[in-house]
Symmetry: C2
Subunit: 382 residues, 2 copies
Amino acid sequence: MHNLFLSKKEIWYGQWKVHTSKSVSFFKFKEEAMNLLTNTLNQIEDLDEKTMSLTKERIDNLVKPVGSLGKLEEIAIQISGITKELYPVLKDKKIIVMSADNGVCIEGIAAAPQVVTEIQTYNIAKGVSGVGPLSALSGAEIIVVDIGINAEMNYEKIINRKIRYGTGNIAHEAAMTREEAIRGIEVGIEITNEVIKNGARLIGTGEMGIGNTTPSTAMLSVLGNYHPEEITGVGANLPLDRLSHKTAVIEKAISYNQPDKNDVLDVLSKVGSLDIAGMTGIILSCAANRVPCVIDGYISTIAAIIACKLNPKTKKYMIASHASMEKGAKAASDYLGLQPMLDMNMRLGEGSGAALAFNIIEAALLMNKNMITFEEAGIGVV
Amino acid sequence: MHNLFLSKKEIWYGQWKVHTSKSVSFFKFKEEAMNLLTNTLNQIEDLDEKTMSLTKERIDNLVKPVGSLGKLEEIAIQISGITKELYPVLKDKKIIVMSADNGVCIEGIAAAPQVVTEIQTYNIAKGVSGVGPLSALSGAEIIVVDIGINAEMNYEKIINRKIRYGTGNIAHEAAMTREEAIRGIEVGIEITNEVIKNGARLIGTGEMGIGNTTPSTAMLSVLGNYHPEEITGVGANLPLDRLSHKTAVIEKAISYNQPDKNDVLDVLSKVGSLDIAGMTGIILSCAANRVPCVIDGYISTIAAIIACKLNPKTKKYMIASHASMEKGAKAASDYLGLQPMLDMNMRLGEGSGAALAFNIIEAALLMNKNMITFEEAGIGVV
């Protein structure tokens, strides 16, 4: 499959060149690539109300008090509306992890050095990081994409779709150009289209990128009208005494870049990140292909917000997984309007929460399929 | 196994007689049975701090920010302390469902008629109710115990340990005698001891009993000093306009029976229920046998509170599963001091939330076992 991606890359991308300065890049697109985002947005349809109402009718007649299985019922109904199937079986599951670096790391907003993005991306691809065992448990494969790591990656299991060697330092410049942001989304769409073409029926978002809670919080501040102080958290164990500095960097990034809150691509390109661009693409492709998309934690939820801004129907294809411990996570979930099902005090990313939710989603489908109705039990409705 | 239980019953119980009035019962115990509860309480030890600290050390060195896997880390450490193993494998999992009727149903505190306890117990044993598919997903077997159903049950998969044909109507009489309450706990201990002897390494509590949120709420009111109004909920879809009646019945039960809040067996016998007595026994047996016990929802949490009152060390062997939608559930969890990991808006009981949590617990163990440390990754701590 990876070779396929590479050959597709040549088809889609045309000439692909990265400056050796490791700070800027240049793309020459073919016409069809320019339209991929627009085409994908136009493909996204409503859920199938008829299948949903048939599923709801069955679930309301299962041998239990109406509504007593809560979110399991909602998930089963939603997935029937996504797949147009009464008893969907989503055996082929993938976690797609977008890895990229953030130039703003130089401002000292993260506890770990930037090189950890590179190291940890290898670990994720090898299945030995946090998301590995959790994906294995639910039978999900991990797809790892280098969408902007500040290093040459050399491992067959890491798909090279590098747009640039990390974003610009948003405290003093734009994260990327508008074209790069669009291209980042399209990389996510292309990868996910391919994964779905190859059989995937349930997809989770994942990311790796030291420093990525900083652009996430900058975007949430702008889009959701939060003051950075309200939502800036410690990410991956930033010492508490550096939190006010991180907040100040986010304020500075917004103040310098002046992103237009009504233009989500402007926000993404000016104070965003490449992993989030890629995840936005994952989510949009899932919606366009009618595949349920499981949203991981805080960073993923920001991508989900961007996807919704691009096409609000996208939200109907999302399933929120876990309530991240990161400070802004609740604000992000509330702003998106999706409530997570897992309350694990997790804050790892990598798609770890999404992987954990896969089993709950499978439980929802089994509930719908294998419980019996009052009629099947040979008893009247009670 | 069921035959074994029956023969054990004869050994343990001695003469066993139920009056035909279906409202009272009489037990003649052998000396050893009288001591089972006391012996079990005396067997409960602390967790193994040494194994826990070794496990914590490993988890803190896995390739992730310290603490970033939240409750998964806590669960893995707790289970290592319970089992005294660094890498426990808990393949043999059981949900034990205690089924019993509540005489207070005659007061109209439940939406479903009492006969549903009988019907649904058959469905649970057949694996076609809510807990069935959820247990199947995690490879758990369901053990169903008739500890007080108001009907003769006739199905090989339902273990007969009936103490009486439902409790008394707590609005006007005690739920049961003190001896019956102790006997109920001991039935739970005996069943669970046997299940563990046969190999079970992870156990979840479950119950079925129309009307059982009423005794649950009565007990929580007494033990936790809540006014019934604060914590009385609709259970299994009681119409809202009958909620104040249910609250009044609970007030009446407390006022009539005057349970002594400092004597938990007095509370259980006067305003409690047989399923909760049985689940208390499950929890105590798990703690005595060093087996992790997964607490389902609201009703199970009340049993967990009783088990903790009998021996506070029991709490160390508990894992809370889901935050039930029942009104009193949060108060019960807070009073117990255990925070659930699943937020599914469920309120079914039967052990359905515990079954759903089994996979999360397996994920915690796999995380500990299959992630690599910084040293194993050949990199310094970051």
